[in-house]
Symmetry: C2
Subunit: 410 residues, 2 copies
């Protein structure tokens, strides 16, 4: 019952991430695997490239035949043929011999280096002068130089970037096992809220949270189920909440920010069979009136109705939980940050973690972070901002000129 009596510090809330388990896995073709989270460790099934390749256009030779060669004292070699791209050379290179080869070609037997075309000259159809020496292995990629058979390629829990997809392609993995995209249901409530295609009467506003939260869920790698607006009535909200739990891996209710609305959310969450309310209130600003409950292995969030609060809570609290559902290895997640100089004083309250929205400006001597001030019901504060600055629980505020770390949105 502890959750009811005091707000939780953010660190303790984030410790609950380990309560979640990643969703199931599925196999997808690598053409569709960009940004998906790998669900299996992939090992190199063979050496790559698997044969000795020339990395320059030139001549495959025995390096020792070039030792000491200079412009004044060239080495002389006999050109005995050429390597066709993509084929195994049938020719073999002896001590005083050379074979023409293109970048990417397979080195013939006997050869152990490639002389760049710039450093050789044909005297006649066969005889070649060489003006530089090459070391054994020079301008040659060894059979296991990119990857050695059995070596780990990509680990489970990593998001696949283009270069990982390319590496999988290089090993002929046309499909990979990834975590499926977790489904997140968004339920919006509030008697003052109307769907966006309605013209709000005085006293009403359009539903914003469904749209902002959906965007952040998609950006994190989830799939959104939009449950739309539900009236602030116990039975209707409970019914939609149960439907959402049935369909989704995680549910986000974004309620109004009034005490009455929060009480309704709590009542509904308590009425969900086998639910357990883990916490009610987090020591952050904006976003204090956040609720977290579980129903079996599923999480249900009660997010603040204020648009900025809901976004900040998603980014700083909900997102790590969703990343865990996505199967992401937390150690592989790096938030993009930038160091900047704060351009005005920002007050804060001890005992809670504050997140201030800042706009970034690049000046000659670095980044400047302009705090975007405004109430947490104002969406423009998020739109004019590029990122968030955290002010720790034990800090009373930050002064103009302070060096801060700004976490970019996206």
């Amino acid at each position: 019952m502890e959750g009811f009596f005091r707000v939780w510090p953010i660190d303790r809330v984030l410790e609950l991430v380990s309560l979640c388990d990643p969703v199931e896995t599925e196999e997808v073709p690598i053409e569709a695997a960009l940004n998906r989270v790998l669900a299996e460790d992939v090992l190199a099934e063979e050496d790559l490239p698997g044969f000795r390749r020339a990395t320059m256009d030139g001549f495959a030779v025995q390096a020792s035949a070039t030792f000491g060669a200079t412009e004044a004292n060239p080495a002389y070699l006999n050109l005995i043929g050429s390597v066709a791209m993509g084929e195994v050379p049938t020719i073999s290179v002896g001590a005083g011999e050379a074979v023409r080869i293109s970048t990417g070609g397979m080195l013939p037997q006997g050869a152990d280096a490639v002389i760049m075309v710039e450093y050789a000259e044909m005297i006649d159809d066969v005889l070649m002068e060489v003006y530089r020496s090459v070391a054994p292995g020079q301008n040659v990629m060894m059979p296991d130089e990119d990857f050695r058979k059995g070596e780990p390629l990509v680990s489970a829990g990593r998001r696949l970037r283009p270069q990982e997809i390319g590496t999988l392609a290089a090993f002929g993995k046309g499909a990979v096992r990834v975590y499926r995209k977790p489904r997140v249901a968004i339920v919006s409530t509030g008697d003052e809220v109307v769907p966006i295609d309605c013209r709000p009467a005085p006293g009403q506003i359009r539903d914003v949270n469904t749209y902002t939260l959906a965007g952040f869920v998609e950006g994190t790698g989830g799939m959104v189920s939009r449950f739309g607006l539900v009236p602030d009535r116990f039975d209707r909200l409970l019914e939609r909440c149960l439907q959402a739990l049935d369909e989704a891996d995680m549910v986000m209710l974004s309620g109004g920010s009034s005490v009455g609305m929060r009480d309704l959310t709590i009542d509904v969450l308590e009425a969900v069979p086998e639910s357990r309310i883990l916490l009610h209130g987090i020591a952050i600003s904006p976003g204090k009136p956040t609720i977290l409950a579980t129903c079996g292995s599923k999480l249900i969030w009660g997010l603040p109705g204020q648009v900025t609060s809901a976004m900040v809570v998603f980014l700083k609290i909900v997102r790590p939980f969703l990343e865990r559902l996505c199967g992401l290895d937390a150690s592989s997640v790096v938030r993009r940050t930038v160091e900047a100089v704060l351009t005005r004083n920002v007050a804060s309250v001890q005992g809670r973690t504050d997140f201030i929205r800042v706009r970034l400006r690049k000046e000659t001597n670095g980044w400047m972070a302009d705090p975007v001030l405004g109430k947490s019901g104002l969406i423009h504060t998020m739109m004019r901002a590029d990122g968030l600055v955290e002010i720790g629980m034990n800090t009373e505020g930050l002064e103009e000129g302070a060096r801060v770390t700004v976490e970019w949105f996206d």
Copy 2:
């Protein structure tokens, strides 16, 4: 003809971005507009929220009635009713009166401030003691406090983040005009290259560039048309190239890296009707043998076949052109970078811009950048790296301990 005789510095190549025009526009529902590029300036069509809203739970009052109120000397007000959420209050607040209101509720006539519920106490059913004074406007959001009618909301050329989508929702814009996703054709060539579902014979390798380049194109906001592998023969390559030009807004040929392959690419590009080869060779490493041609308003790139070179050229050269096709306002594009300390010497050559791959490690006193060394045909150098460090044309290299700016991949 200048392009044929010398390599171009990177800055001059990037000046050509202005040759491109953004693709056409289309209207999409805002549910599908995340990360799309807005193609119209959107203005606020009304004030937002459009009415005076309470930002706290409490009592709507005339502020002047509370002036001087303290615990020791409370003000006394008569509670005359309450505001229902989402409705226009029918009640009006006089000098000594108060009306109960929830966060998000519409302020009644006469009231100009909200007293937080914590600072008031009911003496009986009607009489209320107030322990704090409020200033006019306190705990109230003004009708145009989020946006004022006519004010710019989002500008053309911006990529839409969740907060922009939410702002469009707040104004009831269910659909927006965005640039369509430019189509980029990827044509892979090389007699030594085989499709990824084939088992390469000795001397052959699988097609990697189609996969890595497709990933980067998608990440930039383009749509990929995969033209697959084309044999290194003039007529076949020309035919596929013409098909690609027909279907796509931009074409990328990724050839082998041999001189013969480059010559073939040049021959093919010259044979494309109305083509013009703009440049052949850029003073960068990796990626020097890059070719750029135009056919009418379309760009055709000849990218190096080496996998790492192709990726670096895409990121540092092709991407700004593709962003321009996408309609992005260049001033709104910020590459995510991080300052780090280089952990070993890196050599470079004057007269060209080098891009070294680095792996980032966070230590207590900041980020460390470990150069990932290796030939540009090795894909593992890109996979083990987190980003790129640029070494300028006039620099001979960087020393261990140098402070560098690392641009993150993605």
